[in-house]
């Protein structure tokens, strides 16, 4: 569609802080997929590239509608995920704001390109609507694919519910484009449990929109033959096999992970910090991210009713990982129970690695392959850790 045929919307451009914290909000009852697309609608996205995979497809269908309504300038369905993720990398070189989303096997298929985004300094937002990685074939929720993203260099946020999905996705656009960050931000949430279930989401008016992408404010300028300094290299040093090339590559890698660390201050600014804590003086904590945090919250409520010394730590940022913040809260804790929606327990591994007394981490409970996470599973571990007699059987 030519630009002059596109609908023209008169929206008010505002800063992210105003959008997230000050703009009046109204409550809506919508799915997680709707929440993500509603965030994209308000993010002033230039181009979105779609490729179907369950359960993500719903998100990019809705983003397609958002494009048709004129909130996004360009949108197309790519050939497959590697093509999608590569096209995002190509489009980023022209200096525009970008969004795409995928799930499980799709993420793995696109991973070659995705793990190169940080090194290419691609400021894009990637939605991950988690799903089992085949095989055997399954479309059910399971966040094992997030384990493959941990060492990609990307910033990773994990949303508990529909409201988080909306807020995290919006904030992600601001975080990824900070000059001292400028690496992609992935916003993950559980497929079906969040994407296809409705929850209350407070949203600001869709007449408000995040201020447009600024291609000049970049540590690595757009390759548009417009934004100085000129990126022409008559003797590309990185492609040689000598000490200087190794040095340049190592410095580049350090810079990516430093950028990842620097994202933390913006996670504080826009999302109030990388963790949420309830009852910080407790003996035992349930530590969880994403959908598991919703069940952990429920277990925490049961424990309060029973007068148990149980706290809750919800981990919002997976990368950069909140090592300092978690250590601060759990320094006197006797046990940490880590419920997860995957078999490998990547979150419990992260927590063990960042505290001095990893032995206090209880491995689990874990569900996977699409299984739900009953609160009773968490309660069982709480009783066991506190040495309370119970008649629960697994």
């Amino acid at each position: 569609m030519s630009p002059n045929k596109r609908p023209v919307l008169n929206k008010k451009e505002v800063e992210m802080n105003y959008l997230l914290k000050e703009a009046p909000r109204e409550q809506h009852f919508i799915t997680g997929a709707q929440a993500m697309s509603e965030a994209v609608k308000r993010a002033n996205v230039d181009m979105a590239i779609a490729y179907p995979i369950t359960p993500q497809s719903e998100v990019m269908h809705l983003v397609g509608d958002v494009f048709a309504q004129g909130h996004i300038k360009e949108y197309y369905r790519a050939e497959e995920e590697l093509g999608t993720m590569s096209a995002i990398a190509g489009a980023a070189r022209a200096g525009i704001r970008l969004f795409t989303a995928t799930s499980g096997p799709g993420l793995i298929r696109g991973l070659e390109a995705i793990v190169s985004w940080p090194g290419h300094r691609v400021p894009a937002v990637l939605g991950i609507l988690t799903r089992v990685i085949n095989a055997p074939l399954s479309i059910q929720p399971d966040n094992l694919e997030m384990a493959y993203m941990l060492y990609s260099g990307a910033v990773m946020l994990h949303a508990e519910n529909q409201q988080d999905t909306f807020d995290f996705t919006l904030a992600a656009f601001a975080i990824t484009e900070k000059v001292d960050v400028y690496i992609p931000v992935a916003v993950a949430t559980e497929g079906f449990f969040v994407t296809h279930a409705k929850g209350y989401v407070d949203m600001m008016s869709e007449d408000l929109v995040y201020k447009p992408f600024d291609p000049v404010a970049a540590p690595v300028p757009a390759m548009d033959n417009e934004t100085p300094p000129a990126r022409i290299q008559r003797d590309a040093p990185v492609q040689k096999s000598n000490f200087m090339s190794y040095l340049i590559h190592s410095v580049w890698q350090q810079e990516i992970w430093d950028s990842n660390s620097r994202a933390m201050k913006y996670i504080y600014e826009y999302l109030g910090g990388p963790i949420e804590v309830q009852n910080p003086e407790s003996d035992i904590f349930v530590v969880a991210s994403g959908c598991a945090a919703a069940q952990a919250r429920e277990a925490h409520r049961y424990a309060q009713e029973e007068g148990l010394s149980v706290g809750l730590i919800k981990v919002k940022a997976i990368r950069p990982f909140p090592k300092k913040e978690i250590n601060e809260v759990v320094k006197n804790a006797k046990a940490l129970i880590v419920p997860e929606h995957n078999i490998v327990g990547w979150l419990s591994t992260e927590i063990k690695a960042c505290i001095p007394n990893g032995g206090i981490v209880v491995d689990g409970p874990r569900v996977y392959g699409g299984m739900t996470l009953p609160v009773e599973l968490i309660m069982y571990e709480i009783y066991e850790a506190l040495g309370i007699e119970h008649n629960m059987k697994l």
């Binding site: 790519a78 590569s86 096209a87 070189r93 022209a94 033959n225």
Partner: protein, 305 residues
């Protein structure tokens, strides 16, 4: 901005590398083909001054030819992938994007669309330059689908019929029977029909050639770029022999390229009516402009006398 963006401020010039300043002052940025095209290669600071390829590399020659033929180097971005080609392409004084294996046409799809968004009134030329493996094997799906979608950019395949950079493995573009690494008994299927695939996928201009004639090869490159600007995807399959893996003595590289013109790389040019219209119009305009420049020069010379 584009010309200005390359041009250093007068007072800053003395702090910049001499070869960069000379490239801007005397090179092909902002010039016509008459002033700085392949016909004058060697008279100006070239976009690719040196190359790191093997001695006698025909691909290195063709890559220099591509850069010398660009209608507007100051508005051009190239993309490529792993392979010998990117070693030289990445050293050109034109922005080059290297992504991952075989994804050049997917990246170019995103880039071209993004350029049209940001600069609706400006023509930015996007060209993917990759080998036969990158274009037709590992990048096959992304190449084909960029054409099927009608993405408006130029694809140039440097067809040396082998994976040269990784040590001489058989590719889909290797001829049947060729004994290469990973085909120790000889390749047992035919060379892929690249231009036919391109036409079936919707390329509006395709050429298969062995670029032995500099002027003709330059004209083809320019045609592919002009047509991509206005009509749709364009594709050039150019023979760029690998003298190492095919054991062609350096002094016979040119003869081999000429022999191939009668064999697997017989000249074939395909264009749609719409593409033909663009070519005829642009070439007539260029001819007229060249004529008037010459006339003006003659008049100025006469006046000076």
């Amino acid at each position: 901005m584009s010309l200005k963006y390359i041009t250093p401020a007068e007072r800053f010039k003395r702090y910049l590398p001499k070869d960069y300043v000379e490239l801007v002052d005397f090179g092909p940025f902002g010039k016509t083909q008459d002033e700085a095209g392949p016909g004058n290669m060697g008279q100006f600071k070239e976009l690719v001054e040196e190359h790191p390829m093997c001695s006698g590399c025909w691909m290195a020659y063709y890559i220099r030819l591509i850069f010398a033929s660009l209608p507007c180097p100051e508005e051009t971005v190239t993309l490529g992938t792993a392979g010998c080609g990117r070693l030289a392409i990445s050293q050109a004084a034109v922005p080059f994007i290297y992504g991952n294996y075989g994804d050049q046409n997917a990246m170019a799809s995103g880039l071209t669309r993004a350029f049209r968004l940001r600069f609706p009134d400006k023509q930015k030329d996007v060209i993917t330059i990759a080998g036969d493996g990158g274009t037709m094997d590992i990048g096959f799906s992304m190449t084909m689908h960029s054409w099927i979608r009608g993405e408006k950019f130029t694809t140039i395949m440097l067809d040396n019929e082998v994976y040269g950079n990784t040590g001489g493995q058989s590719s889909g573009m290797s001829p049947k029977g060729a004994v290469l690494k990973m085909a120790p008994m000889g390749k047992d299927f035919e060379k892929m029909p690249a231009t036919k695939l391109a036409q079936a996928a919707g390329c509006v201009y395709t050429v298969r050639m062995s670029p032995t004639n500099i002027k003709k090869a330059a004209k083809i490159i320019r045609r592919a770029i002009f047509v991509a600007r206005e009509v749709g995807p364009t594709f050039i399959q150019a023979y760029t022999s690998c003298n190492i893996e095919y054991s062609i003595p350096t002094e016979e590289v040119f003869q081999d390229a000429k022999d191939q013109e009668k064999d697997r790389f017989q000249f074939e040019e395909y264009m749609t009516d719409e593409a033909k219209e663009v070519i005829e119009r642009v070439e007539a305009e260029e001819k007229a402009a060249s004529k008037s420049r010459k006339a003006a020069k003659k008049a100025a010379a006469a006046e000076a006398v």
